[in-house]
């Protein structure tokens, strides 16, 4: 098979590769630090809908229009969590409806927390941009959502 590149073209592309390699030491450090999240003693919910990302398989018709809140749905065998995020903050509901303790967690640890009421509703302020997840403690259950980028 003939290579489609001349020597000069290949060297030029290699130069770009080498330039990229030197980039972003703090990106590497953050990625390495992610490993400390390997053992979280909680049930991981699945992300089944993120209105701002590609539609999740099998879920349709829940996209918010331009300017509307970002809608996210997480689901597990025992718990589902639906949240709406806009500039005013985060509004969420636990299903089945039940009281609980919901904490916003960032890569460096837990942040703001809220109490879900009798029908499972909770509100949280909008966190700074970056990866976050929700940590939900309900009775003897402990659940976490996958990481999302706010």
């Amino acid at each position: 098979m003939n290579s489609p590149w001349t020597d000069d073209e290949l060297l030029q592309e290699l130069a770009a590769v080498l330039a990229e390699e030197q980039a972003d030491e703090h990106v590497i450090q953050a990625a390495e630090a992610a490993f400390s999240w390997r053992t979280v003693d909680a049930d991981l919910l699945s992300l089944v809908l993120d209105s701002d990302a590609e539609p999740a398989v099998g879920v349709r018709g829940r996209h918010s229009g331009p300017g509307g809140p970002r809608v996210l749905m997480f689901r597990g065998e025992q718990l589902a969590v639906e949240v709406e995020i806009d500039d005013a903050g985060i509004v969420g509901q636990l299903t089945p409806p039940q009281p609980g303790h919901v904490t916003l967690v960032g890569p460096n640890g837990p942040g703001l927390a809220a109490q879900a009421d009798e029908v499972g509703c909770f509100t949280l302020p909008l966190p700074a941009s970056g990866p976050v997840r929700l940590d939900c403690r309900l009775g003897d259950g402990h659940f976490v959502t996958p990481w999302i980028t706010i």
Partner: protein
């Protein structure tokens, strides 16, 4: 891509809690994540957020990776998905031409695909380079540095006669073309007639 068994070993060791294996995975594939975010023209701060989210997700996905050699594909897909979110956000504030009848076209909209192909080529080059003997790597790294080392400098650094450097570089480039990583890339792209030629 590194040899399949090696990647499999790294993924499995990481899943069992071997932090040095994880760090090696990060070192190998962080440039791929960065390249994909660049191909989507994300602002640097957004690209860092996306990158961190991808790695946090991977930590929890290690056990679920049935075929570890599919990891590069998983990384590309996950990163792309996160990047798309920023497009949707951007669309919410897209400028509208009041004289026209629609949204002003978004220059970046057509870029991701060719950018992504370039990201794949660069990952193949990175992996191919890693497959080469140390001598070839040194020679190519010196010649592709910014600014490129002169034949005179290379001659001093590697202890080679100046007259042999040009032919040696050509042979090293040929060996690079013949690495498993580059052959895999070429086979995949030529099959769909979409080889990325450097500009």
């Amino acid at each position: 891509m590194p040899p399949v068994s090696e990647l499999t070993a790294l993924v499995q060791a990481s899943a069992k809690g071997d932090e040095s294996a994880w760090n090696e995975l990060v070192r190998r594939y962080a440039p791929l994540v960065v390249a994909v975010t660049r191909s989507h023209q994300l602002a640097p701060a957004d690209a860092q957020d996306v990158s961190q989210t991808v790695w946090l997700r991977l930590v929890e996905h290690l056990d679920g990776l049935r075929e570890p050699e599919a990891l590069p594909g998983w990384i590309v897909t996950t990163t792309q998905r996160e990047c798309c979110r920023y497009y949707r956000q951007a669309q919410k504030v897209l400028p509208v031409d009041p004289q026209g009848d629609g949204i002003v076209s978004h220059d970046g909209a057509a870029a991701p695909d060719s950018g992504l192909l370039r990201a794949e080529l660069r990952q193949a080059l990175r992996d191919g380079l890693a497959e080469l003997p140390a001598r070839d790597q040194q020679l190519l790294r010196l010649r592709a540095a910014d600014p490129p080392a002169s034949y005179e400098e290379i001659s001093k650094l590697l202890g080679m006669p100046i007259g042999s450097i040009g032919p040696s570089i050509r042979r090293s480039l040929d060996r690079l073309r013949q690495t498993g990583a580059m052959k895999t890339y070429l086979a995949a792209t030529q099959a769909t007639d979409r080889v990325r030629r450097p500009a």
